[in-house]
């Protein structure tokens, strides 16, 4: 009886792994296919019959690094993204603290207003933003990208951090007060360390959004001075060479790898952050 139950449990476990493994393979297939496209010669891509076992070639690899300023694109991406996340955190942490802790008239309306910036279709504000940055003289600079990415992400970065702050018992701050700490000290020494997982989660999600941002980047960037990885992809579609699929695939894959690694590293926090942002409010 007991051994039977054990075996049936073992079987269901095997079955479970089979199903999950199958699903993982299904999800991973396009990524691997992409990688294989990036690493085969261009001729093999544009055949009418698919070639399942391609020959290996670093053509695309050499092309993106030697013929295109990919290093500069990469640098622009990294600078704009990190800059935007820093701006977000500097603004979002005090804002979230205020929204989580203090009661004032219109507090909940502010909360909704902040979130509503995410609900708007970005194309609506594209043109005004273009003129805004032209007048500021910031067109085609990574500073403009930083500001735009920061603006896009600020709302939910604030929201996620706020939801973590709501979880901090009020007694903790009361204890710090009676111990003699002022507001800034409390924020810096008690609150921020306690919500660090939330801050990390929000930052990573903000980075992912920023890496994938395309519309505004295309609007602002017109030369390699401000081109980022995402916009660089579009460079391989025009021009006299036609669509260079293997280079596109390789660049896309390269942009995907760091995001993937970061997500795996913070997986535990990420799921919590996303659900908390969703149910709390």
């Amino acid at each position: 009886m007991a051994s039977q139950r054990k075996r049936s449990k073992g079987e269901s476990l095997t079955l479970r792994y089979l199903i999950l493994g199958g699903w993982a393979l299904f999800c991973l297939a396009p990524v691997l296919w992409f990688l294989s496209i990036g690493l085969r010669p261009r001729i093999e891509i544009i055949t009418p019959q698919p070639i399942y076992i391609p020959s290996f070639s670093l053509d695309a690899w050499h092309m993106i690094w030697d013929d295109w300023p990919m290093a500069a694109y990469l640098r622009n991406s990294v600078a704009a993204i990190i800059g935007s996340v820093i701006i977000d955190l500097v603004l979002a942490i005090p804002a979230a603290y205020s929204l989580a802790r203090f009661r004032y008239r219109g507090r909940d309306d502010i909360g909704f207003y902040i979130l509503s910036t995410r609900m708007m279709a970005p194309a609506i504000v594209a043109v005004p933003i273009f003129f805004l940055f032209r007048n500021l003289g910031l067109l085609d600079t990574i500073w403009a990208l930083m500001l735009i990415y920061a603006a896009i992400n600020l709302s939910f970065v604030t929201w996620i951090i706020r939801s973590y702050m709501l979880d901090i018992p009020k007694e903790l701050e009361d204890a710090a007060k009676t111990d003699g700490a002022g507001e800034i000290r409390i924020l810096w020494e008690i609150i921020i360390p306690a919500v660090l997982p939330g801050i990390i989660t929000a930052s990573v999600i903000a980075m992912i959004f920023a890496i994938n941002e395309f519309l505004f980047t295309l609007l602002i960037a017109s030369t390699p001075d401000a081109y980022t990885m995402s916009v660089a992809l579009s460079n391989f579609t025009g021009g006299s060479d036609g669509v260079i699929y293997n280079a596109i695939a390789l660049v896309a894959f390269l942009a995907f790898v760091p995001v993937f690694l970061v997500v795996v590293a913070i997986q535990k926090h990420l799921s919590r952050g996303l659900t908390m942002g969703a149910v709390k409010g």
Binding site: E171, D174, A176, K177, D179, E189, P193, A194
Partner: protein, 349 residues
Amino acid sequence: MARIELTEIQKSWGPIIGVRDVNIEIADEEFVVFLGPSGCGKTTTMRMIAGLEDPSEGRIVMDGEVMNDIDARDRDVAMVFQGYALYPNMTIYENIRFPLRMRGVPRDQHEGKVRRAAELVELTDYLDRKPGALSGGQRQRAALARAIVRQPQVFLMDEPLSNLDAKLRQAMRVQIKHIQRELKITTVYVTHDQIEAMTLADRIVIMDKGAIQQIGTPDQIYNDPANTFVAGFIGSPPMNLVEGALEGGTFRAPGIEVGNLPTRHSGAVTLGVRPEDCTVAGMSSHLSGTVYGVEPTGDITYLTLKAGEKLVEVKADRDYRAPLNKPETVAFDPSRIHLFDTATGQRLS
């Protein structure tokens, strides 16, 4: 090192009244214990003294200075919170040291003070751990250490021993009293536990439903309860309270007759007598009933008698045994009989 006066204190949140009509003067170096059932306003009163909650009405004065508008951090008060409130990201060492850093205690004194506080609460082996890696009792002791590490004007302790086992609780009780006496720090202490209240307090404040019921020394509270709430709340098992009628100096209730009482009062009266002030099978008995239950505990036997519909508890001899429903008589110690007005619950003097 501070005198505290609460005058006409009231605290309400909209229609909810947490605390009302609180008037109390706490002397310098006094140890005052707030005792009362859950939700009676103990924590709220304490938080107002700490400056974490503004009273809706009334004045809080410390050493002659009105404190109502003074921030918590500027009142020299150390508090142990009911929920520990340890800083989760800091080690126990850093937790205990935090108030020293915030209050500008010279750095070279930190180590020594933290170690001494940790020793007092027997926590020296856990200084490197984070609060998350401690048991409830250990966390509570860490919170206690954080409060006693500096020498504030006032200690506020909100059920600081509630999560300790009996042995440790007893030991910590002695420690707390010793520390308080040694440092001569005015202390307000909240508890559910009567034994804790009786053993620690210079004076006990009994609260119920947001209002003070009685303020007095443990002896006063025990021997002269101001009303039926206090009478029934203090003592374990609690005082027997029997409703009946007082007529010409004689109290009567089913199965109970007590004479030679003051003739000043008459009408609906509640008679109170503690189980230990009853003697089984006295010749001049006041109560005659039947045995309802017998509970030997080792050093004493609790006997429950049924008189009319009322159950009355009596402390009997340790060897006392009796079958159920056996008729039994009991005499009360006449000097320890309490009378209360049944309508108001107030003591009749």
